[in-house]
């Protein structure tokens, strides 16, 4: 059963420049040369994305690739030049100001790279802010805010001001604030990029833990491919405003659509991306304790190497689907390019 689509965008364009509108009206699919000769800048070019309910969808690209612009088009913080954005089947771009405010108040939450906390409010007041502006009764808002503050592990810091907190703690406030309205759709714009590597890792774990409990539909932006691989259900890779490939991490590594994608995946330890299912000898048989098909190779490599004979691989129902031996693992760990 395929889960239902929560958010999708069709042929979304964002062009900057004087002739932007005119260009797109003349030609609904201008090429890079068309755009350049018209003197406009193509920040997002013909983006088509479907995001399923409950999935972690990561938009990945280097700075200037248009990923920030795209996510702002999806939330309509930026008005796209053309295309349509469907949220729960509603066309977001035709919503009027009032409807948009309602949607944002109840259905969307967003976390920002530099936290965007209001400096004059305490942690609790910051977290409460989205409720405050909706005129939620104060007791109710406070109770709700305390709940999410506790959820992100900041209990006891409610009366601190943002400047008194570390970067990681500030982002926890940002996360709490974006969750306080219980949104369906959760945007995270490079949420961990401004943090130290150690803290970043900790926050990623925290994020996965939260998602396990909350099951939000997540649009997550990052420029860090390792982060993307770690967190994503699916990844969209952007370059120069175009989405060049949308795939699961494993597919990206196995079948990069272009050299550019391949270049990204090259520096990623394969064992951390590939699953046992992807490299096993399908239909083969092994003996001993079975290994789950969905396990990452790096997590089970030691066991496989330690065993002389191939080990059986099972799917989520415990059915045997194949076997894996140390040769296959060695190939993943030390092999050059292709895992095949």
């Amino acid at each position: 059963m395929t889960p239902k689509t929560k958010l999708s965008c069709r042929n979304v364009w964002k062009l900057y420049g004087q002739n932007a509108d005119a260009l797109l009206q003349q030609n609904s699919n201008p090429s890079g040369d068309d755009i350049r000769s018209a003197g406009v800048i193509g920040a997002v070019r013909n983006a088509n994305i479907d995001i399923a309910e409950g999935e972690i969808f990561i938009i990945m690209g280097l700075s200037g690739s248009g990923k920030s612009t795209l996510v702002r088009c999806l939330s309509r913080l930026i008005e796209p030049t053309g295309g349509e954005v469907l949220f729960d089947g509603i066309d977001l771009l035709s919503a009027n100001e009032k409807e948009l405010i309602e949607i944002r108040r109840h259905k969307m939450g967003m976390v920002f790279q530099h936290f965007a906390l209001l400096p004059h409010l305490t942690v609790l007041q910051n977290v409460m802010f989205p409720l405050t502006i909706q005129a939620t009764p104060k007791d109710e808002a406070t109770a709700k805010a305390r709940e999410v503050v506790e959820l992100v592990g900041l209990k006891g810091r409610e009366d601190y001001y943002p400047r008194e907190l570390s970067g990681g703690q500030q982002q926890r406030v940002g996360i709490a604030r974006s969750l306080v309205t219980e949104p369906d759709l959760w945007f995270l714009d490079e949420p961990f990029s401004a943090l130290d590597p150690l803290i970043r890792r900790e926050m990623q774990d925290e994020f996965l833990r939260l998602q396990e409990r909350l099951h939000k539909t997540i649009v997550f932006i990052t420029h860090d491919f390792e982060e993307a691989v770690r967190l994503a259900d699916r990844i969209a890779i952007m370059k120069d405003g175009e989405v060049i490939q949308i795939a699961t991490p494993e597919e990206l590594v196995m079948n990069p659509a272009t050299d550019y994608v391949a270049e990204f995946t090259r520096h990623i330890p394969r064992s951390k991306v590939l699953t046992v299912g992807g490299v096993m000898n399908t239909g083969g048989t092994g003996e001993g304790e079975p290994i789950a098909q969905s396990a990452r190779v790096s997590d089970v490599a030691e066991r496989i190497i330690a065993s002389d004979a191939p080990l059986p691989v099972v799917d989520e129902n415990g059915q045997s689907v194949g076997a894996i031996d140390r040769k296959a693992v060695a190939h993943v760990l030390f092999g050059e390019g292709d895992a095949e």
Binding site: P119, H120, Q134
Partner: protein, 663 residues
């Protein structure tokens, strides 16, 4: 010696020709029988001032939109300002009085000096610490002990009214300019002009519209103090992190919520800088405002200056400074405190507001017990100290014993510095001068700037103020040269030597807090009236930015460049000459630009000591209540300021582009 390029040679030649032409200009005019070359014929003058005066008369007497006459509008504004002002004035200075004249009955006396002082001490402690409390408390006690209390409270009352209106109005206008770019485009040149026209120029129309009195003075003060707040508001809002704005919109704020609950609070730190500016400008206006009817300390200074009572003027002047320091430090501390760490103390209202309660109790106690002992309400006059006699005697002593010395300095500067500049400038034939200005504009910033320079200079010419404008340029130019020669080295020294830096900073801080009038007093005492006195007063007043910008420019040269110099084996002097100074040049130029602006704004005030420039023209217009004359002269000063500003900015920009600091 490097060889001059062709364009450098051309510039040098033109400068030389201009100087020679200036020096012999008058003779040349006579020889050619063309006096009009140096003296613009009065028959060609366009009588702008008459037009303006007529327009003003029409505005006051006939202008109306439907049934609402223009005067009704001004009366309403006056009434609106008057109500809170009267209340605050009664509270601080006059007391609440019923009836008039001899039948007057005091219902409630003004707040006792003890309560006011306690209140500011409490405020100081609340905003920062006991040190600040001691400072502001000391300031207020000084005012009482030196017998300036009553005047100071009148001044404080006008500050308390002008600042909220100026800051609030500025905030609203700034928000509007931020929201509507078209409005910003309209208001930006207006603000430019308001900041460059000397305040005197618009005193006259205000006088017409609101009459002589404290309300006029308040209106003038508010007009003078608001523009920077508008600017700072727009800038501060634009500087709010775009993520914060995105957050606000994603949280589902309405336009209004976004502005007042997200953007304005996020920008509050920068906004408080604007409020502080408003406060300082308000205090700057204290003396000038007393020319159109403000009482208080400003009036004391002005009156003392008019009767050359040096001691009294100096004392009242110092009192303004003391008041300014107290208000400035308090507002700065308050700004810093905002958004600072403070955890809510639990407890009842009284426990949380101990200071407020204390002050309120004290207020009631002094009011009740004051019925029996006036000591609790007013500082006893017999206990005041005056230093007036001391200052008088000091000046007398200096004048008696060192007269020759002062005279020698004055004569030296006049003969070798000021008079030559004046002669040359006045001798340059005006067609040549305008041509040169246009050329300079073209060289620095293309045809647009050339048009601006040529056009504005021509306007001054046809309004018949050419020679006065030249005197203005001379006085201002001489002061700026002197201020630069003194200020830039001081700034460089301050940047390079920490100990010297501290001392210089202190000096500059002091100079900047003094109201402009106060400079006049000691200088007049020593050098009597005349151009030289004006020169010194202007230099003192305009010195600060030259020092500040030079110091900042030298300090902000990147560390890497310095290290690159050091490893290339530069000596300290070479480092300064080849790396620090060239890199700091754009910043230094901006400092000189600021110096020119300050010098021009000081000109009108020095008219009091008998200069013969546009400043004097404005001042005369004020005393004769001649709107047209005042505005035309004021606008001429503004034009000079704008020309100088644009030329220097274009130059600084070119320098920055050359160094790759800007594209």
């Amino acid at each position: 010696m490097t060889r001059l390029s062709r364009s450098q040679f051309a510039i040098l030649a033109l400068v030389l020709v201009t100087i020679v032409l200036g020096y012999f200009g008058r003779d040349l005019g006579k020889a050619l029988d063309a006096r009009w070359l140096t003296k613009f014929p009065s028959a060609w003058v366009i009588p702008f001032k008459t037009y303006i005066s007529l327009a003003m008369t029409w505005l006051i007497e006939d202008a109306a939109i439907g049934p609402v006459a223009f005067t009704d509008v001004t009366r309403t504004i006056a009434w609106l300002i008057e109500q809170p002002y009267d209340f605050v004035l009664a509270l601080l200075a006059d007391g609440f009085v019923k009836g008039q004249g001899n039948n007057a009955q005091v219902i409630l006396p003004a707040i006792s000096w003890i309560v006011v002082t306690t209140a500011v001490i409490a405020l100081g402690q609340y905003c920062r610490d006991w040190a600040l409390a001691a400072l502001v408390g000391g300031c207020f006690i000084y005012l009482a002990v030196f017998g300036q209390w009553d005047s100071a409270m009148v001044t404080l009352a006008s500050v308390l009214i002008a600042v909220p209106i100026g800051a609030g109005g500025g905030l609203l206008l700034g928000v509007l300019a931020y929201r509507h770019p078209t409005f910003e485009k309209v208001i930006s040149p207006v603000l430019d002009l308001m900041q460059t026209i000397p305040i005197f120029a618009y005193l006259v129309p205000i006088l017409f519209m609101f009459g002589f009195g404290p309300i006029s003075a308040l209106v003038a003060t508010i007009i003078y103090a608001t523009p920077p707040m508008v600017r700072i508001t727009t800038l501060a809002l634009k500087a709010v992190d775009s993520e914060i704005q995105d957050f606000g919109r994603m949280a589902g704020t309405t336009q209004r919520q976004l502005m007042w609950r997200v953007l304005v609070p996020s920008a509050s730190h920068s906004l408080m800088v604007g409020v502080n500016q408003v406060i300082m400008l308000t205090l700057n206006m204290v003396i000038i405002a007393s020319m159109i009817g403000a009482g208080g300390l400003g009036f004391d200074v002005l009156a003392a200056l008019r009767r050359l009572d040096i001691g009294a003027g100096f004392e009242a002047g110092i009192a303004i400074v003391v008041l300014a320091i107290a208000v400035d430090r308090l507002s700065q501390a308050f700004a810093e405190r905002m958004g600072q760490v403070h955890h809510e103390v639990p407890g009842s209202w009284v426990a949380r507001h101990r200071r407020t309660v204390l002050v309120l109790i004290l207020l009631v106690v002094t009011w009740v017990l004051g019925q029996f002992s006036p000591l609790l309400l007013e500082y006893p006059e017999s206990q005041t100290i005056t230093t007036g006699a001391f200052w008088d005697n000091t000046v007398k002593y200096l004048n008696v014993n060192y007269f020759d010395f002062f005279e020698a300095i004055k004569v030296f500067f006049l003969t070798w510095f000021m008079i030559p500049i004046k002669t040359v400038l006045l001798g340059i034939p005006w067609p040549w001068a305008i041509a040169m200005l246009t050329l300079l504009g073209w060289h620095a910033g293309g045809w647009r700037l050339a048009m601006l320079c040529g056009g504005m200079a021509s306007l001054i010419l046809v309004s018949g103020l050419w020679s006065k404008a030249i005197v203005t340029v001379y006085l201002c130019g001489a002061s700026v040269i002197l201020a630069t020669l003194i200020g830039v080295p001081l700034g460089v020294l301050a940047a390079l030597n920490k100990r010297a830096g501290t001392a210089i900073n202190l000096l500059i801080d002091t100079l900047q807090t003094l109201p402009s009038f106060v400079y006049l007093i000691p200088v007049v005492m020593l050098f009597r009236v005349g151009d030289f006195t004006a020169l010194i007063a202007i230099v003192l007043y305009a010195l600060a930015p030259a020092v500040r910008y030079a110091a900042h420019g030298v300090r902000s040269v990147s560390e890497e460049l310095i290290e690159a110099g050091l490893v290339s084996g530069c000596t300290r002097t070479q480092l300064l000459r080849h790396i620090r100074l060239p890199m700091a040049l754009p910043e230094i130029l901006l400092g000189i630009n600021q110096t020119i602006m300050l010098a021009l704004s000081m000109l009108v005030i020095t008219a009091l000591v008998g200069t013969r420039d546009l400043g004097q023209e404005v001042y005369i217009a004020l005393t004769k209540a001649d709107t047209g004359r005042g505005l035309v002269a004021g606008l001429s000063i503004a034009f000079i300021a704008i020309i100088a500003d644009r030329l220097i900015n274009a130059g600084a920009r070119q320098a920055r582009i050359r160094f790759g600091l800007e594209s």
